[in-house]
Symmetry: C2
Subunit: 334 residues, 2 copies
């Protein structure tokens, strides 16, 4: 009898929620190198509990699934969870936080794509592209004056990897960038000045673009609410690529209707998909996309490759990359 191979469970989404055909399981591609070194169990949410029994590792390919908490009692041998997402908020339940399980995430994969989405949103607003498209649909030739982006200012809330890449990209085109984070500081290599997020209403009025790139934590839930929105510069542009719950959507709708805010570009929402009765859908000053800011062609391949690399380290007993501080809810900066 040989030594038992380590067991890695992979939670996969199904193509359609209603089918129970196991062939419909949407598995990550490229895990063959790991399959030679460990027993890899592919499962859906319903089978997660039994698939976790005896497993030392869990790969959350279905990265927003809430199934882990339910299956937790059966996770008798779990040492490591890797989440194929940057935000791990859906996983941060109390039993996990209190456990010794190491959590790693997909930090790095989404940084540049999301930074590009933010810059795309800034440019699209400045050049009034949404209005151009509406005029085009009506075959109307309407000359307007638009805004120059160079020399405008941006406040980036969240000083993690995505916020930092965004800061660098925005600076490259002449936008003046400031950060907002847990602690105020000066001479940050990417932001220069970082103001305190907790003090957002007293800072937010100084910026043309306000970008939420923060992880969802107790501190960032509802951070952009009535008070902050009342303090924005008239015509300011809010861009949310973090988590929907960081913005008070009712207060946001009000701020847009009152004209305090010029535009909101939203890729994330408190409830996803955004309910069809949300007033956000029909507002001309709102730009909506379907939680896709980081999902450039090849993203799934990149996520699977990143897991394979971390799994090799784990199998070799080496130190894992992208370890989440489960007390904080994100990967701290080194």
């Amino acid at each position: 009898m040989t030594a038992a191979r380590p067991i890695i469970t992979v939670l996969c989404p199904r193509a359609e929620a209603e089918t129970q055909d196991p062939d419909q399981l949407q598995r990550p591609e490229g895990l063959e190198p790991i399959e030679g070194l460990a027993e890899v169990r592919y499962t859906d949410a319903a089978g997660l509990g039994s698939a976790l029994e005896g497993a030392q590792a869990l790969f959350l390919w279905d990265f927003f699934s809430p199934a882990v908490q339910q299956a937790w009692p059966q996770a008798d041998s779990l040492e490591w969870i890797h989440v194929a997402a940057a935000g791990v908020d859906t996983l941060m339940f109390e039993d996990l936080r209190r456990s010794e399980v190491t959590v790693t995430n997909a930090q790095g994969i989404f940084d540049r794509p999301i930074a590009e989405y933010v810059l795309a949103a800034i440019f699209a607003h400045a050049k009034d592209f949404a209005a151009s498209l509406r005029h085009q649909q009506n075959r109307r030739w309407v000359h307007r004056e638009t805004q120059q982006v160079q020399g405008t200012s941006a406040l980036i809330i969240g000083t993690g990897a995505i916020g930092r890449e965004t800061a660098r990209l925005l600076r490259a085109v002449g936008i003046l960038v400031t950060g907002a984070g847990r602690t105020a500081r000066e001479q940050d290599p990417d932001f220069g000045t970082v103001v305190q997020s907790a003090d957002l209403p007293s800072h937010i009025g100084g910026f043309d673009h306000i970008i939420n790139a923060a992880p969802l934590t107790a501190q960032t839930t509802g951070l952009i609410g009535e008070q902050s929105l009342a303090a924005v510069r008239p015509g300011a542009h809010l861009i949310n690529i973090g988590r929907g719950e960081s913005v008070d959507e009712a207060a946001l709708v009000q701020a847009l209707q009152d004209g305090d805010l010029g535009r909101a570009t939203l890729d994330v929402f408190a409830q996803e998909p955004l309910p069809t009765d949300s007033p956000l859908w029909t507002m001309d000053s709102v730009t909506i996309s379907a939680h896709m800011s980081g999902d450039v062609l090849g993203w799934r391949t990149a996520l699977a490759e990143q897991f394979v690399q971390n799994a090799r380290r784990w199998l070799d007993g080496a130190e894992l990359r992208n370890i989440v501080d489960t007390a904080k809810g994100y990967v701290p900066r080194h």
Copy 2:
């Protein structure tokens, strides 16, 4: 009797073409410093002929007006024409070319705004914003994979000031830039490699983004035609911020329908306003704006200021800035 003051005629547009109320003349603001040093005659197109009699200078505030050619016989003392636009093609009639009149243009004012419009168009296409807006109008949550901009390639046709600023801005976000101009060359400070525009079909297939930033001349009329469009990389994106006549619109529509081209973002057209029966209006793969790519807030003030500065030089007998080579039809690079 004092020496006669020089006479500067300013051709202004009217708010509405039908009115003859002279109060509706849309004069440039900020010419007061010049009014103290010269006789400034504000006129519309109808009055241009008589307003040119005895005038040494003409400021084409109504920069696309074809009125100059008609009024030319009365331009008995003209030495200098300043055009409040980057493209001077509407002014380049044969009598003017053959004359000793110096022509200057608004080079510099539009460089950065137009470069930003080009980058905005690249990002909007890469991030599929037009489709996002259509889905939003239908309250549809549709996740898609989009494109990363970093590492893509752009061919910028036209190596003048606007093309160069565009090259610098695109490079700043990681786009690989090549130029296309009259003469092929290497080690250009902004473009690196410049290929020959005349040989466009053999080069165009190597690029994700094709940008027309060329002045309208005999060489660039119809430059992007059937042959060039047949040679593009599948899914390529054409952006025209130069002049509409540089693109064969019928061939463009065909290339878009055949799927050779992924998108055309067009700010200029052979006929402006774009006729309501143009098939371009209703194509999902076409983005239309109303010849406004360079017109950021404050552009009129900047144009008037630039004229005032050049007029001061002229009044002082100093060398004018932005002198157009009337044989070439643009300001040659120093």
